[in-house]
């Protein structure tokens, strides 16, 4: 695989989208591969009944789950690259 292909793979991972839904099913947050929020969806009927504090914890939980999924994908991608003989973690550690 050429270096150009490796760069392409990493960019594709960053462009992936990851969603997290809170346990109440009220909030769905979507993040990019870096954990930045790019989409929000809420359940209109449920949200009216929730106290603000519970809603806030639902948002936090949805974000945590979406970022957890992004981190898991990142670990999987690193593992795939390692299988191909490329260890980005080691490369990061070796930086001056």
């Amino acid at each position: 695989m050429s270096e150009q292909h490796h760069t392409g793979d990493i960019e594709e991972i960053a462009a992936l989208r990851f969603s997290g839904i809170d346990d109440r099913g009220v909030v769905t947050l979507t993040t990019d591969g870096a954990g930045k929020v790019v989409g929000v969806r809420i359940e209109p009927e449920s949200v009216r009944r929730l106290p603000a504090q519970i809603f806030e914890s639902s948002v936090a939980q949805a974000l945590s789950k979406a970022r957890g999924a992004a981190a898991a994908a990142d670990r999987s991608a690193m593992s795939i690259l390692r299988d191909q003989g490329i260890d980005l973690d080691a490369a990061r550690r070796d930086l001056p």
Partner: protein
């Protein structure tokens, strides 16, 4: 100053920097930034490294605002908090120096050769090509 003294001085500065940088990164992690929307009805607080600290949503806004507007307000506040965190990291990065040379770019994953000034002799070689 003898070459040995110069090397010892550089190593001392390096040890000092290696002690100081993790402390600075920890301080950066603790630094709080925020993004808000809907006239402050929605506020997102991040640490400067991007971890979520807390969320504040005004109860009245939640009760009286339509679904789509709440979604937009949350997204806007998250986006602003992300930008604020990125700005704090950039500021931190540019503040890192070692013996008067900015090393933030290298510490954040760039190449040390990219931030060091090119020795004049090598510059001349390139100029002549």
């Amino acid at each position: 100053m003898s070459p040995d003294d110069a090397i010892a001085r550089i190593l001392d500065s390096l040890r000092e920097a290696l002690t100081e940088i993790p402390r600075s990164i920890e301080a950066l992690r603790e630094r709080e930034v925020s993004g808000e929307s809907a006239n402050g009805a929605v506020r997102i607080f991040y640490g400067a490294l991007g971890e979520l600290k807390r969320i504040e949503v005004e109860p009245d806004f939640l009760r009286s605002t339509d679904n789509q507007r709440i979604e937009q307000a949350l997204l806007e506040a998250f986006t602003k908090a992300d930008r604020a965190a990125a700005a704090a990291r950039t500021e931190f990065q540019s503040s890192l120096t070692f013996m008067g040379i900015s090393i933030g770019q290298a510490v954040q994953g760039g190449s040390i050769s990219g931030v060091l000034p090119t020795p004049s002799r090598i510059s001349e070689v390139f100029d002549q090509r």
